[in-house]
């Protein structure tokens, strides 16, 4: 862009560019009528400065707003976006549900090929864990992965026992309630960390013992008239909280086979299985079991 020098002043010159714009520029020994190519143009007027107090208030407000934004942003991220716990749903397809602190699914991962097929075309992000579990079970039934007499395992990976118990009880009762009257399946609940740490061989026994934790309340309400012992054993849950019906918890199923040491020492209905749960150690369950006998 070339500029024509139109007027010279002691401190500056007036230039006219090819686009018809007039500028003030530094007078680098220019003469009127000369054409120049790289002038130093005068900058536009600086904006009016604000009063210092106004500036201070504005910057203070902005800083406080930034702090609030940072705090709430972090809280929101921690509570709603960051994965806090996981539930592994295993039928044959295995699906990992990553949950936030609210128990809402933030991510679904198929951990085997069938799991990936099960999740194909399904979006459970933002839904509650129970809703996702129910919907995935429905899909598994539709796709032929789960049929009558099948088994579903929930392996809960949570940072503390309280959450594990809460999720365990909720999953067991809600899922059993959802499937009640539709299909007979076995529900298993594991503590993921413990099952990973040891005992790969005896998974079922270990998991049964652990899964009694979320079922602790439920076992207090045993229906004594409906015994699973003997020829009348219908393999149906006697726990009112885990609705009696077709959906059967592994917890009850394994209790049928367990060796039970009663305080009075009279009866041991399953003497063969020495490794099973020793109910004498579980204070909550002892009284009911004794009464049952």
């Amino acid at each position: 862009m070339s500029y024509m020098v139109m007027e010279c002043h002691p401190g500056y010159v007036i230039l006219l560019d090819e686009a018809g714009r007039f500028f003030k520029a530094a007078n680098l020994q220019y003469e009127v009528g000369q054409t120049v190519y790289d002038p130093i143009l005068m900058k536009d007027k600086a904006k009016e400065q604000r009063h210092p107090a106004v500036k201070w208030i504005c910057s203070g407000t902005a800083a406080i707003a930034a702090c609030f934004l940072l705090f709430f942003g972090f809280s929101y991220y921690r509570d709603y976006i960051q994965p806090y716990s996981s539930i592994y749903l295993t039928i044959n397809p295995e699906v990992q549900m990553n949950l936030n602190r609210q128990g809402t699914v933030v991510e679904l991962v198929g951990t085997n090929d069938d799991g990936k097929r099960l999740l194909d075309g399904y979006d459970g992000k933002g839904k509650d864990k129970i809703t996702v579990a129910d919907e995935l079970i429905d899909r598994a039934i539709e796709m032929g992965f789960l049929s009558e007499g099948g088994q579903i395992s929930f392996s809960i990976d949570s940072p503390d026992d309280v959450l594990f118990q809460e999720y365990g009880v909720e999953l067991r009762t809600k899922v059993a309630e959802y499937l009640d009257g539709r299909i007979t399946i076995t529900l298993e609940i594991f503590d993921y960390q413990n099952s990973q740490a040891g005992n790969e061989q005896d998974t079922s026994a270990a998991s049964s013992a652990q899964s009694t934790q979320p079922n602790a309340d439920a076992s207090n309400t045993t229906d004594y008239d409906d015994t699973d012992y003997g020829s009348d054993n219908n393999n149906v849950s006697s726990n009112p909280k885990a609705p009696s019906g077709n959906a059967t918890s592994r917890i009850e199923a394994s209790a049928n086979n367990s060796t039970t040491d009663y305080h009075d020492g009279d009866t041991d209905y399953a003497p063969q299985d020495e490794e099973d749960t020793n109910y004498e150690e579980d204070d909550d369950d002892d009284d009911e079991q004794n009464d049952d006998d």
Binding site: H9, E18, A19, G20, R21, F22, K24, A26, L28, I40
Partner: protein, 241 residues
């Protein structure tokens, strides 16, 4: 204290009046030279050191941009001069790899500029510059009739591209309808109503940039062929709605 107030009054007068600004720059020339010398670490030579010209335009910027909230004027001007000199030295450093025409060549006392073929005809260039100068003087005289100076036009020139395009549309309309240019010369008034109606440019825009429009329309009357020849891009691709 009273001196400080005097300077502030002079600065505020210089903001409004270009002669006052020129006078203030002349009066404070020793200050401008001192600030330049502080940066150069030697006294600047007038007519030789570009830094002095940069310092002078920075002083002019200080006059335009000063307000009482900024504190003492001379401190503000000093800061601005220093900033502009630093900007200039950075810009020059980018061209440091360019060989100077004064660079010596070989063992003899010849410089690089002397061995380059000079295709320019200095006589023709000087004649062309004289003709251009004569046109500019004529233009300045005609503008005086409208009470408009080139400094006023530079201050009144549109800054936004959209406004500039609107002014160009109005100019295009005037150049196609020469009776408007004749009316301008005859009545010594800008025919804003007809320009606005014909070109579709808002009347408010034309009123706001009246001085700029007068200067451009005068250039597009007869007698300013050299200046018009320089304005290659003004009417390029302008369409009237």
């Amino acid at each position: 204290m009273s001196d400080e107030h005097k300077i502030i009054q002079q600065v505020y007068r210089a903001k409004e009046n270009i002669q006052e600004a020129d006078w203030l720059i002349g009066t404070y020339m020793p200050f401008i030279k001192a600030e330049t010398a502080k940066y150069l670490k030697r006294p600047p030579i007038e007519g030789h050191d570009d830094e002095l010209s940069i310092a002078m335009i920075a002083f002019h910027e200080a006059i335009n941009g000063y307000s009482r909230a900024r504190g003492a004027f001379l401190k503000y001007a000093s800061m601005l001069i220093r900033s502009r000199l630093i900007d200039y030295s950075r810009k020059e450093r980018r061209h440091s790899h360019v060989i100077s025409l004064d660079a010596p060549v070989g063992e003899e006392d010849t410089v690089f500029g002397e061995i380059l073929a000079d295709e320019k005809d200095f006589h023709e260039e000087a004649a062309s510059r004289d003709a251009t100068r004569a046109e500019i003087e004529e233009l300045t005289q005609q503008m005086k009739v409208f009470d408009v100076s080139l400094s006023d036009v530079a201050d009144n020139c549109p800054k936004q591209q959209r406004t500039l395009a609107a002014c160009r549309r109005a100019l295009q309309y005037a150049s196609e309808n020469t009776e408007l240019l004749e009316e301008l010369l005859r009545t010594k008034r800008l025919p804003i109503g007809r320009l606005s109606a014909g070109s579709g440019v808002e009347r408010k825009t034309l009123e706001r940039h009246r001085k700029y429009m007068i200067a451009l329309m005068l250039i597009y009357t007869n007698g300013f062929e050299i200046i018009r020849g320089h304005l290659k891009q003004v009417l390029k691709g302008v369409a009237i709605r």
